[in-house]
Amino acid sequence: MSEKKVIIYSTPTCPYCHQVKSYLTEKGVPFEDKNVADDIEARNEMMQKSSGISVPVIDIDGTIVVGFNRPKIDELLSL
């Protein structure tokens, strides 16, 4: 099974961002974390991908999940 590429767009103060990151860590899923509070370029990228201004945004191999939607993440990553 090929590993899926996961990017999380987050801010340091958002509790749901922390929850999604600890969830994926617990499940052994590697991910790239982009802090959109500091990185305007990442913020714009996130806004374009998600058509929104809200964190967390999770990009799983190009499929966008907005918010810590556990059932959707489980489905996309077959957890």
Partner: protein, 307 residues
């Protein structure tokens, strides 16, 4: 069919789950998220054992405790709870149904919405209810905050440090926030306060581009050019899914007695969704325990009728 269904996974629901699991009840917790309002609390300073613990860290500890019991957690939003002969059935937004002999409602509170056109459509596209979460995303943009209480002014203080211009919209003629917060906000120099002003419409196609407001005194309407609208006008109980089953108070809370009973046999409620006088983590946790023990006793008596 489960013995017990707990709706909500904040302090009340999670504590109830621990107590029910220790009674070896066959239980399920149904919730949209784990933690509820505690997640938004920066520092909890009144939960015994911790002089200061971040809300998210306290939630993690609760969650760890829950996981030690292997409790079934179903993620979803309950749209309706109904009575069936054997107990209760919950209809979830995603179409699933879950039934149980007893039920504890611990669904807490959510941010109150404005109820103006454009608000739903532009949710997460500039309309935000969690300044702690989303404020940093609005760096360099102009924003409005609705609500002149402590949370609204707190949000404005956070935003004025990263936004060129912040509008604070308040429907009354003065702000309710503490003086110390108001002074801090005024010192920023880039917050314009619009009192006696009510929201009319949030404008935008893909993202928020403007916010139409009306002055209650002059009836004059204007559109303020903002890319973000933060709604900070308090919280509302998550009780609408049970409105057919129990008669809610005028604050939309579920009335309970000191045993966490709702008046409907087998249906209990705990925490901030109830009419308990103090909305506190420790009180929600305690009520959650009471409710779960009540559900346990209820089933015990059903199975072994007295006399």
């Amino acid at each position: 069919m489960y013995d017990l269904m707990i709706i909500g996974a904040g302090p009340a629901g999670m504590t109830g789950a621990i107590y029910a699991a220790r009674k070896r009840m066959n239980l399920v917790v149904v919730s949209e998220n784990v933690g509820g309002q505690t997640l938004w609390t920066d520092c909890v300073e009144n939960y015994p054992g911790f002089t200061c613990i971040k809300g998210i860290d306290l939630v993690s500890k609760f969650e760890e405790h829950i996981k030690s019991f292997n409790i079934k957690l179903e993620y979803g939003r309950v749209e309706r709870l109904s009575k069936i002969p054997e107990g209760f059935v919950a209809n979830l937004e995603d179409g699933r149904t879950i039934d149980a002999r007893t039920c504890v409602i611990a669904s807490g509170k959510s941010p109150r919405t404005l109820g103006v056109p454009g608000e739903k459509e532009l949710l997460a596209k500039g309309v935000a209810y969690c300044a702690t979460c989303d404020a940093p995303l609005f760096a360099g943009l102009n924003v409005a905050v609705v609500g002149g209480g402590n949370s609204g002014v707190g949000a404005a203080i956070q935003l004025m440090q990263i936004c060129p211009k912040v509008y604070l919209v308040e429907s009354e003629s003065s702000l309710k926030a503490d003086e110390i917060l108001r002074d801090k906000m005024l010192a920023g120099g880039n917050v314009e306060i619009l009192t006696d002003t009510v929201p009319v419409e949030i404008i935008g196609d893909n993202f928020v581009t403007g916010f139409k407001v009306r002055n209650k005194k002059t009836q004059e309407e204007r559109i303020i050019e903002v890319q973000g609208v933060f709604v900070e006008i308090g919280l509302e109980p998550n009780s609408s899914f049970v409105a057919d089953l129990v008669s809610l108070t005028n604050k939309k809370e579920i009335p309970v007695n000191c045993r966490a009973e709702t008046g409907v046999p087998g249906l209990f409620a705990a925490g901030d969704v109830t009419d308990v006088p103090a909305k506190q983590i420790i009180i929600a946790a305690g009520d959650g325990a009471k409710a779960a023990l009540g559900a346990y006793d209820y089933l015990l008596h059903l199975r072994q009728p007295a006399g």
